[in-house]
Symmetry: C2
Subunit: 559 residues, 2 copies
């Protein structure tokens, strides 16, 4: 048994238990507090981030044909100036393939141990990762620390646990003996070997570079496949830091670091297609736009494809006992990370004649105003706003906001306009507060797709059941990663659960007093694979079981 | 917990244990002996078969637009005259979909219990199934009884066990509670529901109608999907009998029988494509030709596709301690079921300068002659020949034999000609003994594909390693389901195991004294999915884990 596996075995055992029972647990520190990290860790992380700027990123890989990278900080709007290896894929793949046999042939425990160590080592660089994530993905410091730190690492450990479980389901040997009557009898010794599929490519997204990056890597690497990490051109650094850790741990454990490589690119000169279409690419994990995700599902036939894309996440408001708490919870989702999360709410369905609040009828307009007021409240001081909203990952979002502002004026009602907020630390930060638009279902072409960024719709339905019908139809047809229902009527909740179930979408009911965007590793099955928002779930057995195959040998035993 | 589940729970538990430890076990009777079945079962089964001939098959399904079927017994060459429902798929599917909700919404235990009862009920009709299989697939009585009986049912139980294991991996509920610091705290009750993918189509093959039929059905049905069984036009009856059992058990258990339906057809008027291309078909299990299997893999993008096709199974002879036993074992494979099995050997690689037998060199020609003699020995009396070879499922095989006989004369050497053997019970039986051809590797275009039927090649290699190289290359490039190596040199065996492992093919070493075609449920992972002989394994977690998805709901718990 490998030493790294022993070192981290208790963590793995706990993760396996958490996956089975699905309670709340984290293996990694969520808080940046000096209580946990000491006095110097935070500033050391920041210094390390700063030391990487305007430099060649310290990564040597085969097939380097120059340097690339054009990241711009959403906070300073200045280029990061980090130059990553520009890689010739046709030179890279042979080096990767050279690395495969030793990794393939080692034990499940050794591979799992290396992956556990990688996650642990990443947990030790959460401060630099937080700064790297801020200045690429635009997340706020605290979200970059926790959401892109512990929460994402937990997803990696969760996927690793499933991979381990699926591999350990197969014994390494078996004795088999039977009598065939007149046809004889035999005693066989059988040996079962796990065989990776081949090169695994993980395409990461701009806003949460590692949330799918960690699980894609651990799922594939643990099952024996080398992994090429392909970051989004605007968020390379967090992925590069991760790749560096992987290569360091692999080397220390005596394996070829080329088992994990980075292929960086720029928007102008994209490098994704040659990876996806390479004949030796056997597995693709993709997070990003639905259109590219669908294209991959349709066109990358020779690879196992796992996608998480996006849809139009909705809220249905039927009734509530606490309008303020509910409005605050929903408004939190509209603000958090400037609604650039895959779990951000976009479409809020409200009956035209209002809702019951503690048995008293409250009009549509009053509910709408409560939501607007709750957003204002979250934004009331710039420090909180900055903490909650972070920055926009791309200037394109301003175009979306402008377009939708026009649409609102022509086809609905502008309930709340979007504007920048002043970031207390970064005066040049690319910011935008929520744009909130009232429409009827007749304008559904406006909202039946993901509008990336802080755009939301308050959609008038005939009644609560009509809202439910519209929201679940959108989930089924256009995809949804999260859906919310607020109701104090248990029968309506049951009906809603059933309707979402049939739409192939998961649903959360009456969430207040917590960040409702939160998806919990080991507990929430993230993405159902049944609606257009992705074909795979993070994480279940199906996410890992096909990443390897079984080859067996059997030998006659003669006594 | 359902009553059927309780009834069969011990069987399921034992199957789960067998899958985990992979020892020899069977849940069903392999022997037709009256010791086990009493005096009347055999004749009752035969009578039941005879009573079905020249009749409308007793099956009523929605969408019937006439009757179809053109089966001809390979033993009597007479039409069976059984008329099956001819089905309009567009009328059938709505009826199937009407049946889905109750099945989807019932418990894992209820669905598993129904599947266990189906298998058990099938085990009670093994005699009629044996006659049905003989007179469609051409199997001998004993193979039709055991190979298409217990051995196939065991595969069904194995797949069911994996499906059960994968589903039970997910709890039905969980309590989740955590503190978000300043952002609040929450207690959630979560509920996880398993959601089937949709209609599952199982395309069965002509020679072993239910060997994949049982596992495809149990894997899909247990996970909540209705199943359309699509038999090969020449082997409908065994599948129809199975469908009848499924419908009977489903009805008795209070479910809609349309959860399992039959779509029969004829060669002239095939019905497979409308099923495969139906937009509501979500899962396809296919057994049959590599070309159709590949077409499905490429073109049925919206369904989960599981294929088992064929390749060119090989033997490498490096050395042996017992030439007679080895030759007998290989010859058995050349004869058994007229080499129409997916595990039948086709390509026998022998070094040009012969092999060592107990340390003594034996020439290529002498080895070849030993193989020919062993075939003759297996055919020496017509009763044994009939028992072993059965009949040809199609007249087309005579064309293959004629074509290869010509090729042999032009490009190699005819070591043994094929001819009919006289069946003791069926004078009109469509029979053929093994055609054995000596060639060099220069003629590889002849043998680098499955030649369906009793055709084999004795292929001269430069030396044993050259034989190994050729055989593993063929396995990797053209597919293989079984591969054999005979060697008394442990180093060569190690090398061979490694080479097959790298070719993505399983290998059996030195099998003698048993039917080497035998693939054991609960122990042998059948098909690796890594070479062109199929993309799926019967049975592993990957075979079942994607047949369902998980949808969750979570509700805030207020104390």
């Amino acid at each position: 048994m490998s030493c790294l596996f022993e070192t981290h075995n208790a963590t793995l055992e706990k993760a396996l238990d958490a996956c089975t029972k699905r309670y709340a647990w984290s293996a990694y520190p969520e808080s940046p507090s000096r209580k946990f990290h000491g006095d110097t860790a935070a500033s050391a992380g920041k210094s390390r981030f700063e030391s990487l700027l305007d430099q060649d990123y310290p990564l040597e890989q085969p097939g380097e044909i120059g340097r690339t990278g054009a990241e711009v900080s959403p906070y300073t709007r200045q280029p990061l100036g980090i130059r990553y290896p520009k890689v010739d894929v046709d030179q890279l793949y042979p080096a990767i393939e050279k690395a495969m046999p030793a990794w393939r042939d080692t034990s499940v425990e050794t591979r799992t141990g290396v992956c556990l160590e990688i996650l642990d080592r990443c947990a030790q660089q959460l401060f630099v990762n937080a700064h790297a994530t801020m200045h690429t993905a635009g997340q706020s410091y605290i979200m970059a620390f926790a959401g892109s730190g512990a929460n994402a690492l937990d997803r990696g450990l969760e996927a690793l646990s499933y991979a381990y479980k699926a591999m350990k389901d197969i014994p390494t040997t078996a004795d088999w003996q039977r009598d065939f009557g007149a046809a004889g009898s035999a005693k066989l010794n059988k040996r079962y070997r796990l065989m990776p599929r081949g090169v695994s490519v993980a395409v990461c997204c701009a806003t949460f570079p590692l949330w799918n990056g960690y699980p894609a890597l651990t799922a594939s690497l643990a099952t024996g496949n080398p992994v090429v990490m392909k970051p989004h051109p605007s968020a390379i650094l967090p992925v590069a830091l991760f790749v560096s850790v992987c290569r360091e741990v692999l080397s220390e454990a005596g394996f070829d670091p080329n088992l994990v490589t980075l292929v960086a690119d720029t928007r102008e000169e994209p490098a994704t297609l040659p990876l996806l279409k390479h004949p030796h690419t056997a597995i693709i994990d993709f997070t990003g736009s639905p259109s590219f995700g669908n294209w991959i599902e349709e066109n990358c036939r020779n690879a196992q494809v796992y996608t998480e894309t996006a849809g139009c996440n909705s809220v249905i408001i039927e009734s509530t006992d606490d309008l303020t708490a509910m409005a605050s919870a929903i408004a939190h989702s509209l603000c958090q990370a400037s609604a650039q999360m895959c779990t951000s709410v976009q479409n809020i369905h409200i009956p035209a004649n209002g809702i019951l609040v503690n048995g008293e009828r409250v009009s549509f307009d009053a509910v709408a105003q409560a939501l607007v007021a709750a957003v204002e409240s979250h934004l009331s001081d710039t420090k909180t706003a900055a903490f909650l909203c972070g920055a926009l990952v791309t200037d394109d979002t301003y175009d979306t906001l402008a377009r939708l502002r026009d649409s609102a004026q022509q086809r609905g009602r502008l309930l709340r306009d979007s504007g920048p907020y002043s970031h207390p630390d970064f005066p040049n930060a690319r910011t935008a507060t929520p744009l909130m638009i009232e429409v009827t279902q007749a304008e559904s072409d406006l909202y039946r797709e993901e509008l990336f960024g802080p755009v939301s719709f308050l959609i008038k339905g005939d009644d609560a059941d009509n809202c439910l019908e519209a929201a679940t139809r959108d989930a089924r047809e256009c995809g949804a990663i999260t859906s919310h229902v607020y109701s104090s009527d248990p029968e309506f909740l049951d009906r809603a659960e059933q309707a979402y179930y049939l739409a192939g979408a998961s649903v959360a009911c009456n969430l207040v007093g917590m960040p409702i965007n939160f998806a919990a590793a080991y507990s929430d099955f993230h993405v159902t694979g049944l609606n257009p928002a992705g074909n795979a779930c993070l994480t279940d057995l199906a996410f890992v079981a096909s990443r390897f195959r079984i080859v067996q040998s059997k030998r006659l035993v003669t006594d």
